[in-house]
Amino acid sequence: MDAFVQDTKLYARRKRRNAIAMVLSYIAAGSGFVALLWILGTLVSKGIGGLSFETFTAMTPPPGESGGLLNAIYGSAIQTLVAALVGTPIGILAGTFMAEYGRGTKTATIVRFINDVLLSAPSIVIGLFVYELMVRPMGHFSAWAGSVALAILVIPVVVRTTEDMLLLVPNTLREAASSLGASRWRVINKVCYRAALSGLVTGALLAVARISGETAPLLFTSLNNQFWSTDMNQPMANLPVVIFQFAMSPYQDWQKLAWVGALIITTTVLALNILARSLSSPRGQQS
């Protein structure tokens, strides 16, 4: 009888403890979701009001005047594009080495490790690096320097996805091609790259998504420019730095434009992320 009472007590306690833990877990999941919705909600509600035709046609204004973000949008687009054009090929080549020519070698292992660390290294340090490397010797800030800083951030992302995607290509495909007499580079070029194409594109898209919101590495490389400029040798406006400057300013108009810029960036980044994700999971594949 006594043992029985103790047993039910123990059982009740275990059930209670389980219930508490599970409720906490629900709360945790809920709070993560709330945070996401809250941030996105604020962004949309504050940004959408300022969004107008002028945003895409006018330059960044001096305080107190109306204006848009055209020069910043152009600057961001061009620097991101250059960075992707420079960084993606290098990343794909390095990833190819690790998955094909150098698979299993010590070099590949070390590069993979270093690459993974670089993947999450603080981007502001890359900004300092490029400042010392380019801005200081050249004597002035420039869009080239900004692009190089962004390209350095592209490389680890692309290396990582390229290697992962190439490793997913079945070896039987490579063997079949080789047995037909194809040389190694032909196998890679005609078989592996084609089989992994959607994955490679995903990597590039994720990299572009990553850099299009990056602020820290641009702060002291491409700096900012209040005016329209297409000269890559000069400082160039870009959305993140404009947002930073405008948000920290005491002027209402500028703060409003900062929110508009933030909305544009986030929409772009999320769209790129979703596009990349839909590319990497083939049709009909679940979870």
Partner: protein, 323 residues
């Protein structure tokens, strides 16, 4: 007959050409891979080169001096280092339990249909640029904290010996605590996704055995899943910590940029990355720039060690799994 003869004469040159291209490609891809190593070496080398003047002048005292005075050119890194560590550690205290809670929810509790939505949501959270978090922190979270949370904390902690010193001073809204809160949201996706992934490596047989013995969900998680995935969880947490330590923009918005070590968590402070972001373009003079680059070097070293340790742990887990 003619064809065969032809191919017999053509083949060697084609082969030679192919093997030439092959070795070229090999070399090219190899040098691209080595470029990654060169990048790391370059970053470290350049930062060391740039920080020499500051370290020569201040020596080891650079780490222990709180004073940061651009006018008299006396620089010490103690306040930014302190701020970096404190904000990150608080962020971990808040972020880690929530991340693990979400991971438990995703692997054990949630219905299959919701799993994907939640997974995508978490990944989107990781994709939002850090400047957006900063903007949100400055214009939404900080006023909220200033108006409601901080006054409540101050009055609640009043008279309690230890807590009182943690929550004193006027409620600015911006400060160490606000930065830590933002960081805790930012690290959620990183820690959650690693934790969820390692939770899913637990063999179903192990879990089912525990359930079969009558264990509750919590007991399965606490006594089977977590012990089995311990290394992986720690790896994920370190990964999040690495991110938090190096995070720049979100912190720069809300930290207040004050070069002092305050015991109060609601006081403005600074971090290494925020100091660099705020002051680098305005830094005039060799010593000022050099001091900021030294800060960058310190930050890079700290995050490198943390991230390398995280990767090593995850690597070890992977090897265990493959065996």
């Amino acid at each position: 007959m003619e064809l065969a003869a032809q191919s017999g004469t053509v083949a060697p040159s084609v082969l030679r050409k192919n093997s030439l291209i092959d070795s070229l490609m090999h070399g090219l891809t190899r040098s691209a891979a080595l470029l990654v190593l060169l990048l790391l070496g370059g970053v470290i080398g350049v930062l060391i080169h740039g920080s020499i003047p500051a370290f020569e002048k201040f020596g080891f005292g650079f780490f222990t001096t709180e004073k940061w005075n651009p006018v008299t050119e006396i620089f010490g890194a103690a306040a930014p280092i302190y701020g970096t560590i404190v904000t990150s550690v608080i962020a971990m205290f808040i972020g880690v339990p929530i991340s693990i809670g979400i991971a438990i929810f995703m692997t054990e509790l949630c219905p299959r249909s919701l799993k994907r939505t939640l997974g995508t949501g978490i990944e989107l959270l990781a994709g939002i640029p850090s400047i957006i978090y900063g903007l949100w922190g400055l214009f939404v979270l900080a006023p909220l904290l200033q108006q409601y949370v901080q006054p409540a904390l101050i009055s609640a902690a009043e008279g309690i010996p230890w807590l009182e010193s943690l929550f004193t001073g006027p409620p600015y809204g911006i400060g160490v605590l606000t930065a830590a809160l933002i960081l805790s949201i930012m690290v959620l996706p990183y820690i959650t996704s690693v934790t969820r992934d390692v939770f899913e490596t637990v063999p179903p047989m192990l879990k089912e055995s525990a359930y079969g013995l009558g264990a509750t969900t919590w007991e399965v998680v606490w006594k089977v899943v977590i012990p089995y995935t311990r290394t992986g969880i720690v790896g994920g947490v370190m990964l999040g910590l690495g991110r938090a330590l190096g995070e720049t923009m979100a912190v720069t918005f809300v930290i207040g940029n004050a070069h002092r070590i305050a015991t109060s968590l609601i006081a403005p402070g600074t971090t290494i990355s925020a100091t660099i972001a705020n002051e680098f373009t305005e830094a005039d003079g060799e010593m000022y720039t050099s001091a900021l680059i030294s800060l960058g070097l310190i930050l890079f070293m700290i995050t490198f060690i943390v991230l390398a340790a995280a990767r090593l742990m995850l690597l070890r887990l992977q090897m265990k799994e493959n065996r």
